[in-house]
C-alpha cells in the first residue's frame, strides 16, 4: 500500500511484544491488528484480523468521506 503512494502513505509493521506501550495504547489484544490514522482529519480506526484488499480500501474511503 505504501509503495502505491509513499508520499502519502506510511505502512508500519510493528512487533507488538517489543513495543508493549504502543500496543497497549492501541488496545492490541489479538493480532494482526490494523490501525488506520489520518492525522490531519483527526480520524482513527482499528480492525482485528486479516483484512482483504477490498475491505481495506472501503474502510479507508469511509474514513476519508466522513471528513
Amino acid at each position: 500500500m505504501a509503495l502505491a503512494n509513499p508520499a502519502r502513505i506510511r505502512g508500519e509493521s510493528i512487533e507488538a511484544n517489543a513495543f508493549v506501550e504502543m500496543a497497549e495504547q492501541e488496545e492490541v489484544f489479538a493480532v494482526p491488528k490494523t490501525v488506520f490514522t489520518i492525522k490531519d482529519l483527526g480520524k482513527k480506526q482499528a480492525f482485528e484480523g486479516a483484512l482483504s484488499e477490498d475491505h481495506f480500501i472501503r474502510q479507508l474511503k469511509g474514513l476519508m468521506e466522513l471528513s
Binding site: 505504501a2 503512494n5 502513505i9 506510511r10 508500519e12 512487533e15 493480532v31 476519508m64
Partner: protein, 143 residues
C-alpha cells in the same frame, strides 16, 4: 554464530535471485538494547546473501536525531526501506524482523526491488490520488 540456519539461507538466496534493483535498508537502533542488536544481526545476515543489491546502513538513534526526525522514527529498532533512487518507500518495520515479521521483511525487500504490487489497478488509482496522509500500522507477533 549465525541467526539464520543453512536451510533459511538457501531459501533466501533462491528468493533473492528475483531481485532486480538495489534496496537500501536503514536501521535506527540503540546500540546497547538487546532488541536492536538482534535486529542488526539478522539484517546483516540477510544483506550478506546479496551484497550487490542490498545495502544496510546502521544509525545510532540517539546520535542521528535529525535524520530520525526526518523519517519520523520515534522508537528503536526501526527499519526503513528506500528504493533504487534512494527514495523513502514509506515502509517501516518496527521490532526484530523474526518469525512473521521476517516474512514481511523479505516480501517487502522483493516488492521494492522488483517494483511489484499485489494490488488491483483500481486500488492503486485510489491510493495514488489520496488527499491526506495516512498511517497504516499493523501489529503482529513473531508466531
Amino acid at each position: 554464530m549465525g541467526l539464520l540456519n543453512e536451510r533459511d539461507r538457501q531459501t533466501l538466496s533462491e528468493m533473492f535471485r528475483d531481485l532486480k534493483f538495489p534496496v537500501h535498508l536503514d536501521l535506527f537502533l540503540d546500540p546497547v538494547q538487546d532488541w536492536s542488536r538482534h535486529a542488526q544481526g539478522i539484517l546483516r545476515e540477510v544483506v550478506s546473501l546479496m551484497p550487490d543489491l542490498l545495502h544496510l546502513e546502521i544509525y545510532n538513534f540517539y546520535k542521528n536525531q535529525v535524520l530520525a526526525a526526518l523519517y519520523g522514527v520515534e522508537q528503536v529498532p526501526t527499519l526503513i526501506l528506500r528504493d533504487k533512487n534512494e527514495d523513502d518507500t514509506g515502509i517501516r518495520i518496527l521490532g526484530i524482523p523474526s518469525g512473521y515479521e521476517f516474512a514481511v521483511l523479505i516480501e517487502d525487500i522483493l516488492d521494492v526491488s522488483i517494483g511489484r504490487s499485489r494490488l488491483s489497478e483500481k486500488s492503486m488509482n485510489y491510493l495514488r490520488n489520496l488527499e491526506h496522509d495516512v498511517l497504516l500500522q499493523v501489529f503482529v507477533t513473531p508466531t
